[in-house]
Every structure is written in C-alpha cells, then in structure tokens.
C-alpha cells in the first residue's frame, strides 16, 4: 500500500515533466492509445471497442427498459430512461470497464515486458527518469484520450437505445425524441465527463503501477495484467460510486416537472 501511494504520488507530480520534456513520447502514446496497437488494431482499436461495448449496453437499455415499461404501460418514457440512466450510470461505467480492458491492460503488458527485459533499468542507467518517462506520460495520455473516446461512448449508447426502441420495438421516433430531449440535462452530461476523466486517471495509475513493478518472467507479466485489471475495475467502480454520491447527493439534482 505504501509503495503504491508513493508511486502514484511520484507519477502525478511528474505529469508536468511529461508534458514539457517528453512531448514527443506523449504524442506517440496518445496516437497509440486512441487507435490501439498490435492485434487490437485489426478490429478497430480502443475507440471501436469502447463504441461497441457501449452500443451493446445501450441496446440493453432499449430491451430491458421497453419490456419493463410496457408492463406498466408507460413505454413512451423509454426516451427518458435513455437520457437518465445512460448518462448517469451506464455510459461512464461501461466506458471505464472498456478503458481498463484496452488501454489499461495494454499499458501493463507493455511496461511489464519492459521491466522483465530490463529495459526500465537501462533507461535509469541512461539518466532518464523512468517514472516520468513511462508512467506519467501514459497517465497523461490516458486522460487526454478519454475525452474523445467518451464522446463516442455516449453517442453510441444513445444511438443504440434509440435504434433499438424505434426500429426493433416500433416506437415512433417523435415520441422517443420528445422524452429524450426533455430529460437530457447538460449538467448531468458534464458531470459524467468528469466521472470519465477521473476514472481514466485512476485506471491508468493502477495499471502503470502493476506493469512497472512486474516480476517473475513471462508468467509474471501475465499475472500482473490480471491483477491490474481486477484492482482497477474495483477502484474505478468505487470512485464512480463516491463521486456520483457526491455529485447527486441526497437531493438527486433531478426534477421531473422540468
């Protein structure tokens, strides 16, 4: 725990250095993270994966919401469910999960392999501060990348909910759009962006820590990736929980009457 806290502190402090001294590395990482590397590039990289996962959860809103609402005869309100649950709950959580799986686990695998091949020690010997050069740049790149990726995530979750409701269940688009735009609030959307950025920072910190401290040969890298995914999923969901409790609080910041 102490080691982790120290590493996180060092990484966060050196983010400034990452921007000023290692700009080219930072830009390379941003390009790599947004479009992915290796085998993942074949299926469209991080952005496509995030979009795909949020598409499927958006479709879930349509399926679950429509069936449940039509039980009580208020299926017209499905547009409201999309605007309310997608923004507050589903899109941030899904995007966070997808980010942990793609960018985060990728970073752990890269850093872990570097550690095992003693490349990190080589960097230190050359007088490059490895935490700033490897970890801080990745955390900064993750925070930069999450903004466009999250835009794609929100849009695709809205699209999937709308498409599922109007196309498969045959609701008229006018009814859907009316309730959707009535209950879509700018403030909620902005807060959900804050949530996404915070999650990205936490996820990248956890994943770089586990990659940076991998040990035990090839098997160790695999184990480090697994452990990093577990830890970051838990921390990300706890962060979402506490931040949304802090944002929406007891009042809920929600007014049905408009």
């Amino acid at each position: 725990m102490g080691g982790q806290a120290e590493f996180y502190g060092k990484t966060l402090v050196s983010i400034g250095d990452a921007f000023t001294r290692y700009t080219s590395e930072l830009i390379r990482l941003i390009a790599q993270m947004s479009l992915g590397t290796g085998a993942l590039v074949l299926i469209g990289g991080t952005t496509a994966i995030v979009a795909f996962l949020t598409l499927s959860t958006g479709a879930l809103v349509a399926v679950q919401g429509y069936n449940q609402f039509s039980d009580v005869g208020v299926e017209a309100l499905i547009g409201f469910a999309s605007a309310f649950f997608n923004v507050r709950l589903i899109a941030p959580l899904t995007a966070g999960i997808a980010m942990a799986a793609t960018i985060g686990a990728g970073a752990t695998a890269q850093l872990g392999a570097m550690r095992i091949n003693e490349e990190i020690d080589a960097l230190e010997v050359m007088g490059i501060r490895s935490v700033a050069y490897l970890a801080s740049t990745r955390v900064a790149a993750g925070i930069v990348v999450v903004i466009p990726v999250y835009c794609v995530a929100v849009m695709s979750s809205f699209f999937a909910a709308r498409f599922g409701t109007t196309f498969f269940y045959g609701q008229s688009t006018g009814v859907y759009d009316h309730y959707f735009y009535t209950f879509l609030s700018t403030k909620d959307l902005l807060w959900s962006f804050v949530l996404a950025v915070l999650m990205a920072a936490v996820i990248m910190l956890v994943h770089t820590y586990y990659g940076y401290n991998a040990s035990g040969g090839p098997a160790g890298v695999g184990e480090a990736v697994g452990r990093a995914v577990r830890t970051s999923l838990i921390t990300a969901s706890v962060v979402v929980l506490f931040v949304s409790l802090a944002i929406y609080g007891q009042t809920g910041n929600f007014n049905l009457a408009g």
Binding site: A39, L40, L42, I43, I49, F52, L53, S56, T57, A59, L60, V63, Q64, N67, Q68, D71, F84, F85, R88, L89, L93, I97, A98, A100, A101, T102, A105, G106, T108, A109, Q110, G112, A113, I116, G217, P218, A219, G220, V221, G222, E223, A224, V225, G226, V229, R230, L233, I234, S237, V238, V240, L241, S244, L245, Y248, Q250, G252, F254, N255, L256
Partner: protein, 255 residues
C-alpha cells in the same frame, strides 16, 4: 500475398478459436475425465474471483439502487425501491458484475497460467508424451470457469440485494418491510433462471477464450502480456453481446 495475409489474420484466429472449441466439446465426453485438475482449477478460479466479486457487486448495486431511488423519491414511490433493487440486480447488475469478474479475474489468471506453460513449451512436451493437452488442461479449465461463474452469479445477486437493502434502509430511509415486500413484485423465478443461464454461458465463453489465447501465445514476455490483454477485450465483447441477446430472448420466454 502480404495483403492477403493481413486480411486473413483475424479470420484465421476466429477459425482457430472455433476449432479449439469444437475439440473441447468433443473431449468433454471422452474418458478419462481429469477430475483432479477440474477441482484444482475450480478452487483456483473461485479463489481469484471471490474478493473482486464482493468488492464489485456492492458499489454497482448501490449505484443502481441510488439512481433508481432518486427517481422513485421524485415520483413519491420510494416504497417500491425494493422492486427497483431486485429488478436491477437480478436482471442486469448481477450478470454484468459476473461478466466483469469472470472475464477480468478468472479468465485473465487462467490465460496467464496457460500462456506461461505454452512459453515454457510444456504443452509441446505433453503432446510428445502422447497426452492431449485439450483433454487434460483445456476441458477441466473451461468446465471449472463455467461452474464457478454459475456459483458466483448467485453470490453476486445475494450480496447485491443485501447491499441495496442496507443502502436504501439506512441512507435513504425506505421502510424495510416495504423494501422486502416490493422485491418480488416484478422479478420472479423466470428472471432468476435467466440470470443463472446467462452466468453459465458467460463462464463457458470466457473459459474458451482464455484457453484459446493461452494456448496460442507466442513471443516471450510481451506475448503473454498481450494475450492476457486480448483475452480481457475479447471476452468483454463476447459477453456483452451474449448478455443483450439472452436478455431479449429471456423476455420472450418468461413473459
């Protein structure tokens, strides 16, 4: 020729995956069944997944219950928060948390373990000795993932409901009796069965993906890391798709 190779690569991977899945299903019914490996693997998967399950299901349900309650309090129907909690937990949060745990915890450690064995050429050694690695290593792992996923999903649902109960009653001042009475209002046996079927399929798919990725590792430490990374991504994608499809089918069947 190079262009054809690049285009064909993902399809070759997909084909390899299905071939291994078929082999696995065929070997499942062939004696002798590796009981010892099955029990050890079940214990292994359960051990790595138990703590993440508890820590993931509580925040997820509390979030869902909280968002639902904000809505219900606005309607003046806070007494129905039990209905919302059980609906959310049994139908969605339960399976999704199971996905996260099975794919994020179980499948990753299984893939790392198998990948390390592949790198150390233990699988080739088995083949030389005339032992089929699919029968001795893959089948017990896939079955172990399936069993543990099924067991975990009931744990997720129970922990989730308990968490939702405490949160609603002590933080949002819902009457405990009303919460319990509302729980079975919409959610019935059918929904629970659908949730368990989902969990079984999740475990099976995640196990197959992890074993395929683990046995086809190549290229040293970076290879193992990438294989684990791909396992997480592919199993998330596959499981989310399965979730949507089963939810839609489940509604047709249970209603």
């Amino acid at each position: 020729m190079v262009a054809i190779g690049i285009v064909a690569k993902p399809f070759r991977g997909l084909g390899g995956f299905f071939a291994m899945a078929l082999d696995t299903f065929a070997c499942m019914f062939r004696r002798p069944f590796a009981w010892r490996e099955y029990l050890l693997q079940s214990w292994f998967v359960a051990r790595v997944s138990l703590v993440p399950t508890l820590f993931l299901s509580i925040p997820f349900t509390v979030l869902t219950v909280f968002t639902f309650n904000v809505l219900l309090v606005e309607f003046g129907a806070a007494d129905f928060s039990g209905t919302g909690a059980s609906l959310g937990t049994v139908n969605q949060t339960g399976p999704i948390v199971t996905v996260l745990v099975v794919a994020g915890a179980g499948a990753t450690s299984m893939c790392a373990d198998l990948g390390a064995r592949t790198i150390r050429e233990e699988l080739d050694a088995l083949r030389v000795m005339g032992i089929n690695p699919i029968q001795t290593l893959v089948v017990p792992r896939v079955l172990a993932a399936t069993t543990v996923a099924l067991l975990l999903s009931s744990l997720v649902i129970l922990v989730g409901l308990a968490g939702g109960f405490f949160f609603s009653v002590y933080f949002q001042h819902v009457t405990p009796g009303a919460f319990v009475a509302g729980m079975t209002l919409i959610t019935g046996v059918g929904d629970v069965i659908v949730a368990l079927v989902k969990a079984t399929l999740f475990g099976l798919t995640a196990g197959l993906i992890a074993c395929y990725m683990g046995t086809s590792v190549g290229g040293g430490p970076a290879g193992v890391g990438n294989a684990v990374n791909e396992t997480v991504v592919f199993s998330f994608i596959a499981l989310f798709v399965i979730n949507v499809i089963i939810t839609a089918v489940g509604f047709q069947v249970t209603l």
